[in-house]
């Protein structure tokens, strides 16, 4: 018979257990990174996959994000006669917020899902068990290189996102709508502080940890068969995106 109290209890226990496993997973990953981060070859391969191969999509989204910011910003600022602040508005939105968040979300969709699928397939085809039977720690070969690569690649991608976005805003604001080019960059220089850049980079670094963490975790504990891997991949993308946005709020309130 269906017992609601029992069902709630079971769900709570499962939820707490999952949280514990996730916590263990990230702690053990950092412990392994501290002990032996894995060979540079593995890390470089992962940086190529997570970083280099995301470049195109990052540049594309950055350009259009900057352009739309230019457009929206111009019409809003023009109401108050302060189009001159367009450069500041575009740069601060990008550097503090949109650069780190959007680049992380794009990497989640492109690389986070692939990380989960790759590790999930290795799990269901017993390749992870095979590593274990060879007395080799799967974390060293599969997990830590992805963590290190994501923690390096994300801030770099974010920096590229910011620069391309700023020029996207410039293209629309200056070239299309006629804001003075000197003012666009001068106002930006005056009001963007190093602190803004640091806080953006710290965010981006922590998003790198989240992408690797959830991507690897969901793959490592994926269910059975093709269906298990496909579910793990979906869950990984959704959960990573949600955690990024929630974490972004808290981090912003601390860093501001």
């Amino acid at each position: 018979m269906f017992n609601p109290v029992q069902a709630i209890g079971r769900l709570t226990i499962e939820w707490v257990r999952e949280l514990g496993r996730m916590g263990w997973f990230i702690l053990y990953s950092f412990y392994m990174i501290a002990r032996r981060p894995g060979s540079p070859i593995y890390i470089l391969k992962q940086m190529r996959f997570i970083g280099t191969k995301s470049l195109f999509v990052i540049v594309l989204t950055a350009a259009f994000t900057g352009m739309v910011l230019g457009l929206q910003g111009y019409y809003t600022l023009a109401k108050f006669g302060s189009e001159g602040l367009l450069g500041t508005a575009v740069a601060l939105s990008l550097i503090r917020e949109l650069g780190p968040v959007l680049s992380a979300l794009m990497v989640t969709g492109r690389a986070g899902s692939a990380i989960t699928a790759e590790i999930g397939i290795m799990r269901i085809s017993e390749q992870i068990d095979a590593l274990e039977t060879m007395a080799l720690d799967p974390f060293k070969y599969l997990i830590t290189p992805k963590f290190v690569a994501a923690m390096i690649s994300l801030p770099l991608l974010c920096a590229i996102f910011d620069v391309v976005g700023i020029y996207g805003g410039w293209l629309v604001g200056v070239k299309l709508l006629g804001v003075n080019p000197g003012t666009y960059f001068y106002e930006m220089e005056k009001s963007v502080m190093w602190r803004d850049v640091y806080s953006g980079m710290i965010k981006s670094f922590s998003f790198g940890v989240i992408v690797a963490w959830i991507g690897c975790y969901k793959g490592y504990f994926s269910g059975h068969g093709a269906e298990g891997v496909s579910r793990a991949t979906t869950e990984s993308v959704v959960l990573t995106s949600v955690i990024i946005l929630v974490w972004d709020y808290f981090l912003t309130s601390i860093l501001l």
Binding site: I121, E126, Q127, D129, A130, T133, M134, A135, L136, D137
Partner: protein, 248 residues
């Protein structure tokens, strides 16, 4: 020697191992037979510490493998090689890299020496000129042979075979059996073979254990098992539909 004492294991509500006792003698081929879904692979995964029992003892060469730290467990695992049911080759690596991987990670051999050892391990399993192929370009039988080469390349003391011939055609099946026998004679390892291949398995094994309902029903030489009067063993060996084993 591998010794399992009163091993219990359940997955959720399903009891898979139910007070299992088994001794696997050193230097011999021990076959574990039994109906599908009776937990033969689960048993094998317990021996190498991929699964932990709910209760009971598992010893390898007189040393318990339960409750160990990873580094201690890895020291024991270095005695083992394992051939998985689907070979479990690393699919992002070529055949050569697959077989070379344990050598690169576990020994300090030069790359020339590694190449020599890999080529000779592949020749031992009857494979030539496949070094640069990737696992998805190989047939099932070839994958198993590469898996076998990878399992023996470090000369382990104990090799676990999880259904080494399931899904292969009769000729390849015989070739793999022949290979297990030959490599066993050549290297003298302890072998544990999980198999359904009746009666071929009786020619390879010196010891046969029948797993049924989570326990070892009978354990003895192939002749003893073949001469068994136990109704379950009789039914399983003859492949008859009538008897205590229920199908479906």
């Amino acid at each position: 020697m591998i010794k399992l004492t009163d091993v219990h294991k359940s997955f959720g509500t399903q009891k898979v191992l139910n007070g299992l006792n088994l001794e696997i003698p050193e230097g011999k081929v021990t076959a574990i037979i039994g109906p599908s879904g009776e937990g033969k692979s689960v048993l094998l995964k317990h021996i190498i510490g991929l699964l932990q029992p709910d209760s009971g003892r598992i010893e390898v060469d007189g040393e318990s493998i339960l409750g160990l730290r990873r580094s201690q467990l890895n020291r024991i695992r270095e005695k083992f090689g394992m051939l998985f049911q689907n070979a479990a080759l690393f699919d992002s690596m070529s055949v050569f890299e697959n077989v070379a991987f344990p050598l690169q990670e576990k020994t300090k051999l030069t790359s020339d020496e590694i190449r020599r050892r890999v080529v000779s391990a592949l020749e031992d399993v009857g494979l030539k000129n496949v070094e640069d192929k990737f696992p998805d370009e190989l047939s099932g039988g070839m994958k198993k042979r590469v898996g076998l080469a990878r399992a023996v390349v470090l000369n382990p003391k104990i090799i676990l075979f999880d259904e080494p011939t399931t899904g292969l055609d009769p000729v390849i099946k015989r070739a793999i059996h022949q290979l297990i026998r030959e490599t066993h004679v050549k290297f003298g390892f302890t072998a544990v073979v999980v198999s359904h291949e009746i009666p071929e398995i009786f020619d390879i094994a010196q010891n046969v254990a029948m797993l049924y309902q989570g326990e070892i029903l009978q354990h003895g030489t192939p002749d003893e098992i073949q001469a068994s009067t136990h109704p379950v063993v009789r039914q399983f060996i003859s492949g008859s539909l009538d008897g205590p084993i229920h199908v479906g």
